[in-house]
């Protein structure tokens, strides 16, 4: 059964395909091809929402992306979408939609009291009140917050997926109305790779609402159909429908959002919901058309008051009568088409209220011929009707148009079609930094010069007649193709059509009401944000004179439609207030996106594991099997500790630490950065990069190095080994491998290009296993037969090449634990095998895998720093007490900074050890230290604890700290006040806590 207001024929809906949907809990019928808006209107539903501030009843004002009123919540639970425009929602079977911002219902909304109190809450009222008492603002705010907002956010994790893709093309044509189709045809025929994007599901744009226009002597829609068929047949053309071209960025980079499944009842599992196209176009043709402008008159916001072009769209495209008794209110000839269409469709046109002093023009004449009642030089000065307009008050205008003459005549109606002229959709052009000019004859902003490789054509260019659109589109497409190197031979001539625009018109920006402005009746400029002309005047009166101030003070144009229908009216009203030309007021900036874009598309599939993929070592699976707990170090997953059954972290770490001192422990050190450095100047290069000397390092020897930034602060450290005369292997901290390589490359290429050095990251080419403890040598001896492991043959800080467990290996005798230790590097693919072999052979030594936490304890026992934990980018080698590693005789990166005036101040923070008075008390890392406990709220701090552990080998707690003038404070008592009020007392000590002579390392 067709809905009440559905015409019996006509429109581009599929009457054989009925669809049922729910709105505010009630089931309705529509057809395939409907939008939610057209289907609601077909069912006579005009009241769809409540306004933001005053909660006034609101209906559907447009038929497109510019809709500011009919914002709808679609779906439920985790799959709900707030603030969708009813005019853009394609009807799909089972759709569930509801009104927003009303309680208990859209029919009866208690917050309508705001409307009654509206005299008290003009623009900016909140800046003037809610200040006393100060303590209550948070309470006021809570009320304001709950009242604000429109729809509701989803309530659970989004079940849908999103996608992103890159694309390149020769010519992007934005918009598939007549202009865009003509452009795509001419560019496509000439062979250019073309992408034609269209926000709607179907092509043709405004032509879909035009029953009478012809192109090339045929009905316009036949031409659209032929164009579609031809474009689909061209291999070099891609059509992207349901795709919003939302942003025009630098270097002709365009963002588009394609909607793939919202219109489908069954969502295919393999399809993302939306897709972000990241497009680099060599040329862009902007053919985004224009948007009709409402008139600003008293109480112009009632349901049933809509744009004249929208009336035509509902009639002609959807076969829906948006009312039974209509008044057309216009300032131009073009809108008379709406009256004629309504008349033809059987809607009683009660009157045409024309602001123009002389009603003339071809369509005006046609209406006159049709016998329609035309009230020239008249205005609607008031409207009536609560949930639907039911009458308008119409009066003649004074000579200057600033007031009405007399009380006028009341005309009953249930539909008011409004037209205030047209605004080119210059958004993308403006986003591309193209200039915007004012066109006096059409009273609208039009594109000026382009700033990028783009052209604007058709209505978007201020060319409002069909003939002009087609020829501009054709020419723009052709020119774009030629600009990228195509000769354009295949392109035919521009399609021809009648060229007629909407003039003549009269520009009366603020239609007088029956009362002075602001004294009753609301002249809405921005219906979504409830901003009236009186609000604009208030802002101006109060000194908010810049258009940006007016916008921000009143919030006009700041709703979800971003002022598509309101901005030009606001600017014009401001200009009138000042008595200056409109362009002098300026134009507010058009910012992306043109229409809102789903967050999910920006993430695409780069979420979860793909957000920032974790790096795992070749032995990772073995660690997992061993039950390791992992910690994130940079991008790496590293075993943190290996708990046995029933052990907590503390117990596990203690066991691991002891094992490394008592027998042997094994650690996966594969994450350490490894950089292979070769070339005849490799040693010289290292000499300039590191703070210490490198020229004389012997082959097969290793050396610890410290690397600074040019500001003198410690950047990284690690051991570098000389594999050959011109061959070194550098190790870096796990998190710094990439920045260190970048640092080396930068200096090599930009400062010292004369050096012959080659840098290669080999972090992932090698797996590294570190074995540490008194039994390390014995263990290794069982695994190798070609390396002499004796202390004399293979001393500390040297390296040997050989086979370990049958695997070709580089074995480094270096130690971060302070115990006898070897680091074994093997090709990464052998990592797991090596680990397994060491574990098997080590069984007799009760070999113990240890994680990063045990490593931290072991190195802290020895006072070895961890860059990034014991340093923070503000620490010099001198601060660390590492003067011994800073050469005085050569230059290196950062050297000069160490000699600046403030660098040897005695109160610089220096690295020291701390011993708590109570040996069992472990200072929390990050604890601050003071010299004396004060009673005030503040205490002068000396520094903080960087590392702190229970040391099983020292059988007490140990800590490292950066303390002002720390080295001069040896033995001094310091205090660490804790959040719970307790104070931990400790004394300053040397930073080496265990085996101060280093015998174990060298043993």
């Amino acid at each position: 059964m067709p809905a009440r207001f559905r015409l019996t024929e006509g429109g581009r809906i599929d009457r054989s395909n009925p669809i049922s949907f729910t709105f505010n809990g009630k089931v309705y019928q529509g057809f395939e091809g409907d939008t939610l808006a057209s289907a609601l209107l077909a069912n006579g539903v005009h009241l769809v929402g409540r306004s933001f501030k005053y909660h006034r009843p609101r209906g559907i004002m447009s038929a497109g992306a510019e809709e500011a009123n009919a914002l709808i919540q679609v779906g439920e639970g985790a799959r709900t979408d707030p603030n969708l425009r009813a005019t853009q929602i394609e009807l799909v079977d089972g759709l569930t939609a509801s009104s927003q911002n009303c309680w208990p219902s859209v029919e009866f909304d208690v917050s309508i009291v705001n409307n009654l109190a509206s005299r008290l809450i003009p623009s900016g009222f909140y800046y003037k009140t809610f200040m006393w008492p100060a303590s209550l603002w948070m309470t006021y705010e809570k009320v304001i917050r709950n009242a604000a907002g429109l729809g509701k956010a989803p309530e659970g994790p989004d079940p849908d997926s999103y996608d992103r893709t890159f694309a390149h093309c020769d010519v992007l044509v934005v918009g598939a109305g007549p202009t865009g189709l003509a452009a795509a045809l001419s560019a496509g025929r000439s062979g250019a790779r073309v992408i034609l994007s269209e926000q709607e599901a179907t092509l043709g744009g405004s032509l879909q609402s035009e029953p009478n226009l012809e192109i090339e002597g045929k009905p316009a829609l036949e031409w659209v159909e032929a164009a579609r068929a031809e474009l689909e047949g061209l291999e070099n053309v891609r059509l992207l429908t349901r795709t919003q071209t939302y942003g025009y960025f630098d270097h002709n980079f365009i963002g588009l959002m394609e909607n793939l499944t919202d219109h489908l009842k069954e969502k295919p599992a393999n399809l993302p919901r939306h897709r972000l196209w990241k497009l680099r176009a060599k040329q862009v043709v902007i053919a985004t058309g224009s948007i009709e402008r409402p008139l600003v008159f008293s109480d112009n916001d009632r349901p049933g008051i809509m744009l004249a072009s929208a009336c035509r769209t509902y009639l002609n495209r959807y076969g829906v009568k948006p009312g039974s008794k209509a008044v057309l209110f216009t300032n131009n000839d073009g809108a008379y088409a709406a009256a004629l269409d309504m008349h033809k469709a059987g809607i009683h046109v009660a009157a045409i209220v024309d602001l123009r002093a002389n009603s003339e023009g071809p369509l005006t004449e046609a209406a006159r011929d049709a016998g329609l009642r035309i009230l020239t030089d008249h205005a609607i000065i008031a409207t009536a009707g609560d949930k639907r307009v039911k009458a308008v008050q119409v009066a003649p205008l004074s000579a200057d148009g600033e007031s009405a003459r007399g009380g006028g005549e009341k005309i009953d109606c249930d539909l008011v079609a409004v037209s205030g002229g047209w605004n080119p959709t210059v958004h993308l052009h403006s986003q591309s930094r193209g200039k915007i000019l004012f066109d006096d004859s059409h009273a609208c902003f039009v594109p000026g010069d382009s700033a990028q490789a783009s052209t604007v054509a058709g209505a978007c260019n201020g060319s409002f007649g069909l003939g002009g659109c087609l020829s501009e589109g054709h020419d723009a497409g052709l020119a774009a193709a030629k600009a990228v190197g195509f000769d354009g031979k295949g392109s035919a001539s521009a399609p021809s059509a009648e060229d007629r625009d909407f003039l003549p018109a009269r520009w009366l920006w603020l239609v007088p009401g029956d009362k002075p402005l602001g004294h009753g009746g609301k002249h809405f400029v921005d219906v979504q944000n409830d901003v009236t002309a009186a609000d604009l005047h208030l802002a101006l009166r109060e000194g908010y004179r810049s258009i940006e101030h007016v916008k921000r003070y009143t919030t006009t144009g700041m709703g979800t439609d971003q002022g598509k229908t309101s901005n030009v009216n606001a600017i014009a009203i401001v200009s009138q207030y000042f008595g200056c030309p409109i362009p002098d007021v300026g134009v507010t900036t058009f910012r992306p996106p043109y229409t809102p874009v789903t967050f999910g598309v920006f993430a695409g599939r780069d979420i979860g594991d793909l957000l920032d993929p974790a790096r795992k070592t070749p032995m990772h699976a073995l660690h997992e099997q061993a039950g390791a707990a992992f910690e994130d170090v940079g991008q790496w997953k590293r075993p943190w500790y290996f708990p046995h059954d029933g052990e907590d972290m503390h117990q596990a770490v203690n066991r691991e630490v002891r094992a490394c001192r008592d027998s042997v422990g094994v650690m996966d050190a594969s994450t350490l950065g490894k950089i292979d450095i070769q070339g005849k100047d490799a040693a010289e290069f290292l000499n300039r990069i590191y703070t210490n000397a490198w020229l004389k390092l012997k082959i097969s020897s290793c050396r610890y190095g410290l690397m600074l930034g040019e500001n003198g602060m410690v950047m990284d450290d690690g051991v570098t080994s000389r594999l050959g005369e011109n061959h070194f292997l550098m190790t870096t901290t796990s998190g710094n491998a990439a920045p260190v390589l970048a640092h080396l490359e930068e200096y090599l290429q930009t400062e010292w290009p004369e050096l012959e050095v080659y840098l290669t990251s080999v972090t992932e080419q090698f797996a590294t296993v570190s074995i540490a403890g008194p039994n390390a040598r014995k263990l290794l001896a069982e695994l190798t037969d070609d390396i002499d492991l004796s202390a004399e043959a293979f001393p500390f800080m040297t390296f040997r090449q050989g086979r370990v467990a049958g695997i070709p290996a580089r074995v480094f005798r270096i130690s971060f634990t302070g115990d006898l230790s070897y680091e074994i590097n093997v090709p990464a693919s052998y990592g797991a095998a090596l680990w397994q072999a060491i574990m098997n052979t080590g069984e007799k030594y009760a070999i113990t895998p240890y994680g990063t936490e045990a490593m931290h304890v072991l190195r802290a026992e020895k006072g070895f720093i961890i860059v990034g934990q014991d340093t923070d980018g503000s620490v010099t080698p001198i601060d660390l007490g590492m003067d011994w590693i800073v050469s005085k005789t050569k230059d290196f990166v950062g050297r000069r900074s160490l000699y600046r005036a403030d660098m040897d101040k005695p109160d610089r923070k220096q690295l020291v050890g701390l011993l708590t008075d109570a040996p069992d008390t472990v200072l929390p890392e990050g604890a601050q230290l003071v010299e004396k406990i004060e009673t005030g709220p503040t205490m002068a701090m000396l520094g903080h604890v960087t590392s702190s552990y229970h040391s099983p080998n020292c059988e007490r707690s140990i800590a490292m700290a950066l303390i002002k003038g720390g080295r001069a404070r040896m033995g001094q008592k310091l205090y660490s006040p804790q959040a719970d009020g307790k104070v931990i007392t400790c004394s300053v000590s040397d930073v080496v806590f265990y085996d101060k002579e280093g015998e174990r390392t060298r043993g």
Binding site: T80, D81, N83, R119, P122, F125, Y127, K128, T129, M131, W137, M138, R145, A148, L150, K152, A153, P154, G156, D158, F249, D250, F253, K278, Q431, R433, G518, H519, L538, G543, R545, E548, Y553, T560, P596, V597, F599, F602, A603, D606, I607, G608, D609, L611, D612, N711, G868, D872, G873, S897, D902, M903, E925, G926, Q928, V930, G936, T938, M941, A979
Partner: protein
Amino acid sequence: MKSRYSIFSLMRNALSYHEKWPEAWRSPEPKSSYDVVIVGGGGHGLATAYYLAKVHGIRNVAVIERGWLGGGNTGRNTTIVRSNYLWDESAGLYEHAMKLWEGLSQELNYNVMFSQRGVMNLAHNQQDLRDIARRVNANRLNGIDSEFLTPHQIKDLVPIIDLRGNGRYPVLGASNQRRGGTARHDAVAWGYARRADEHGVDIIQECPVNGFEIENGKVTGVQTAKGLIKAKKVGVVVAGHSSVTAEMAGIRLPLVSHPLQALVSEPVKPVIDTVVMSNAIHAYISQSDKGELVIGAGVDKYVGYGQRGSLPVTEETLAAVCELFPSLKRMRMMRQWGGIVDTCPDASPIISKTPVDGFFINCGWGTGGFKATPGSGWVFADTIANDRPHPLNEAFSLERFNSGYLVDEHGAAAVAH
């Protein structure tokens, strides 16, 4: 004396249809000379002028703005206010600002909607936790409210957060400053402008500066689009154009100007009642009183004076937001924009005298200047009035880049935002 703003004046003016409200500030032509000319009509500049007049009695002051008041970073930031900085020097400055924020609406008789809804900084790994512990302890001993939150406490405050972070960025804890929050950015500029004007300060908009008059190493005036304006002292506080402006006086600065991006969603009913910041994944989110999710993103890596957003930064930030708040994936971005931030090598500002006598500079706030607005104005006014740094900004001199006494806030992983 202007009319006082209150519920009573609102009611009274309602009776006269709001037609009797006076101008919030005058729009005078510049006089030929002033005691002090402040270049830059953002929040910091207007606050400086206000405190010069109010605290130091220097009323012969002009604020020169090249565009419209608050049109720079004041009107483009994500409005976060907090004072939980790591170093003593920063803590002193930002906490002073915080105390001024706490009475600002009343001081200005203009509701700047300072909302102390709390600001939390998330920790995603062990080092984050150490850094947070360090900062929370330091804040406490500097008299700044600061607390550590467990994941459970975070979830209570922000129910829509996913603590697992898909395993990649798990939420392990957070620092929280309850006195932190947000404020209405435009209102800060307007409120200071209105009060400064009331104290006699001339606010001159649409007046670009073309150069400075300097004689014998001392500034004597400002060349503007409205002619030469003589000045005994000049304070420059023009975030986004500090290097360009200082260069007109022959001063070089250690700044790099980057486009910084922000975006808002469509407005929805309240879903997030506090401010959540994650430095590790570059996402800062709060919800405005209007219901928009306000999201701060990162900077474009290159020098840029374009106040516009770019796509890669948006992608990165929104991916992070979707990860932390999986229910927000269906929300939609309504508007994105950019501001120009002048970043300093140590992520701390410069509030300083310069080699030119009588010429003062206040710049380098990076991405975090808004929160300092009242404090910055306060100390800058004091510095200008007394021709020497206020104790609170002594450490923030230009000289530190020679001597090496940097106040390195990013080194300490305390977010520099």
